[in-house]
């Protein structure tokens, strides 16, 4: 059944009461399973999902990382082949991150690109860029959009700092690549769902919470952590000022009308700060951004990187049934104690085990985690990190088979 289409600005709350199980298609069963997990409702078994960018490139072995980084159709083809081999995912957060042409058009330094600064066979990576001085906080606080357009983008994208008409040409070229990219991501997402039975996990772009935005996009990671320690009040003010911008990024890219309006939010800063610093510099703006999305009927999937056991008590304040929290290194037994049955918990499969373990070890780990959450529900089994490009196929098979047959 084709997904219902709605206007972007419309409140999407009705999706959560929308009864999609009016036929017995596998996709609808999967979708219902995911919705039940998010809403902490009864399901036949926990869904199994994964998040990935370039995972199938190595699995299929037809192209280099450089080739797929520059050609979205090659990456899309790898995903099609991968989903033919592994159709049992209940949902998949696949981003076709073939941004090479767009990055080249703007002269962006945002990523280390395969075949340029790193080997052609290596996944793209995020260098820690420092684009903003600590003296610039007042400008950021006064007008975050103006500051980023005038001060940050020219530093990040060399071709957008060029004199006219070169600048406009670069901008037009990048916009063309971008619109093509958005169109193709949508096309492949529909094919994976309708032809291969793997629905998309997320809508729109990844949303960075204000403190993560400051660390990842502006100040550089280490500087941002030191700012939290040295100038917390200023950082807090900057986070507050960024809320409308961050919310707008989410609203404008999340195309309403998929199976469930779930937005992806990776968090990098929170594992490295104390509850006291979290309370001051992270939580207030995180909560306000979340509330804005919840009010419009969206749900949010926060990937809490690293170990975040120190924040579990605070996270109990999140509303029931509106958020998924994926954990990487936090102890899931502890997570269950604080959050089990209150918010949907995701995680449980260590990426290192998929790479270095055996199918027997993977099966045993899967059963242990599924048993742990059997009595509270609200659990999504997933890899604790992006699905590693070098995960062993036999381990993925063992993982999926174990979850699918779990009752």
């Amino acid at each position: 059944m084709a997904p219902m289409r709605r206007m972007r600005s419309e409140n999407v709350c009705s999706y959560w009461g929308y009864d999609a199980v009016n036929d017995s298609s596998i996709v609808n069963q999967k979708v219902e399973r995911i919705k039940a997990a998010i809403g902490i409702k009864d399901y036949d078994r926990p869904p199994v999902v994964a998040l990935a960018e370039f995972w199938p490139t190595t699995l299929i072995g037809k192209y280099t990382m450089q080739e797929v980084f520059y050609d979205i159709d090659k990456l899309g083809e790898c995903y099609i082949e991968a989903f033919k081999q592994f159709p049992d995912w209940d949902s998949f957060g696949a981003v076709l991150y073939s941004l090479g042409p767009m990055l080249d058009a703007t002269g962006s330094k945002r990523y280390s690109i395969p075949g340029q600064t790193i080997s052609a066979d290596t996944d793209f990576q995020h260098p820690d860029l420092v684009l903003m001085d600590n003296k610039d906080y007042p400008k950021l606080i006064e007008d975050p959009v103006k500051f980023q357009v005038q001060d940050i983008i020219p530093k990040l994208c060399t071709k957008l700092a060029a004199p006219e008409p070169a600048r406009s040409k670069a901008l037009i070229k990048a916009a063309m690549y971008y619109s093509q990219w958005v169109m193709k991501q949508g096309m492949y997402t529909r094919r994976w769902r309708d032809e291969l039975g793997v629905p998309a996990l997320f809508q729109g772009t990844a949303i960075y919470m204000p403190m993560d935005w400051i660390a990842d996009k502006l100040r550089g990671f280490m500087n941002a952590l030191m700012d939290i320690k040295r100038i917390p009040a200023t950082v807090q003010e900057a986070c507050e000022a960024l809320i409308p911008f961050i919310s707008q990024v989410g609203f404008s890219t999340a195309v309403v009308g998929g199976d469930y309006p779930l937005l992806f939010n990776p968090q990098h800063v929170s594992p490295f700060i104390s509850p006291k610093d979290y309370e001051k510099c992270y939580w207030p703006s995180y909560k306000k951004v979340l509330d804005g999305f919840f009010d419009k009927g969206y749900r949010v999937y926060s990937l809490l990187e690293g170990c975040q056991e120190q924040h579990l008590e605070k996270l109990q304040e999140l509303p029931k049934g509106k958020i998924v929290l994926q954990f990487e290194k936090s102890d899931l037994k502890l997570v269950k104690k604080y959050l089990g049955g209150r918010v949907c918990v995701a995680g449980g499969m260590p990426g290192s085990l998929l790479v270095k373990g055996t199918p027997e070890e993977v099966k045993s780990c899967t059963l242990e985690v599924l048993d742990l959450f059997a009595d509270v529900g609200g659990f999504i089994m997933t890899c604790d990190m992006l699905l590693p490009t070098n995960a062993k196929p036999e381990n993925i098979r063992a993982w999926l088979d174990t979850v699918v047959n779990y009752r």
Partner: protein
């Protein structure tokens, strides 16, 4: 009762610590005495990190404060009177991985605990690491990675070190977000550092300190 420098560094009071250190030097206290107090402060920071009271941002601030103190102290030391280090550690993020945050933090913490650190950078080839071992003769070699593709690079590098006959001359420690104790064993390392504080502890253990 803790001495003021120890207490202020342990409490991450940056400006007060620097002020006290400058005052101590002005009053004629020896470099060794002041640095010893700072190390005591750093040890308390490490204990609070282990106890879950401090987190990485706190550790980084403490390492920054310590670096400021050593910078002041360096200017007071006469040439040839450098303090003796605990040992020498060669660090690198392995081939195909450009991430440096964890490695740099380990470097800062090791320096704060009086190790001499040689940092070869990121995305470092096995042969460059082998050449680094020959040139710098470290006691310990530390590898970091943020990506699972780094596991193979770590394993290949350790094999290469074995092939050229240098494996017995160094201890090898590995760490990084996806690395586990089990991965460390599989790639052939001697130790695994689960975080910066643990890495320092393991390095001290490897040297029998």
């Amino acid at each position: 009762m803790l001495k003021p420098i120890v207490e202020n560094l342990a409490n991450l009071e940056e400006e007060m610590t620097i002020e006290l250190v400058e005052k101590a030097f002005a009053e004629g206290k020896s470099v060794q005495e002041v640095l010893d107090q700072c190390k005591q402060g750093m040890e308390i920071v490490g204990q609070r990190f282990d106890a879950g009271e401090y987190f990485l941002a706190d550790m980084m601030l403490s390492a920054d404060i310590f670096a400021r103190v050593t910078e002041i102290a360096k200017n007071l030391l006469e040439e040839g009177k450098k303090t003796e280090g605990v040992g020498k550690v060669l660090l690198a993020t392995v081939k195909n991985d450009i991430h440096y945050l964890g490695k740099n933090l380990v470097a800062s913490m090791l320096r704060a605990f009086n190790f001499e650190v040689v940092d070869l950078g990121e995305d470092v080839e096995a042969d460059v690491i082998c050449a680094g071992i020959k040139e710098h003769r470290p006691d310990i070699v530390g590898f970091s990675c943020l990506l699972t593709i780094g596991f193979d690079s770590m394993e290949d590098t350790i094999k290469r070190i074995e092939e050229i006959g240098l494996r017995d001359s160094v201890k090898i420690i590995v760490g990084g977000a996806p690395v586990t104790e089990s991965v460390a064993k599989q790639v052939g390392a001697d130790a695994y550092g689960s975080d910066a504080s643990d890495a320092v502890r393991k390095c001290l253990q490897l040297l029998g300190v």
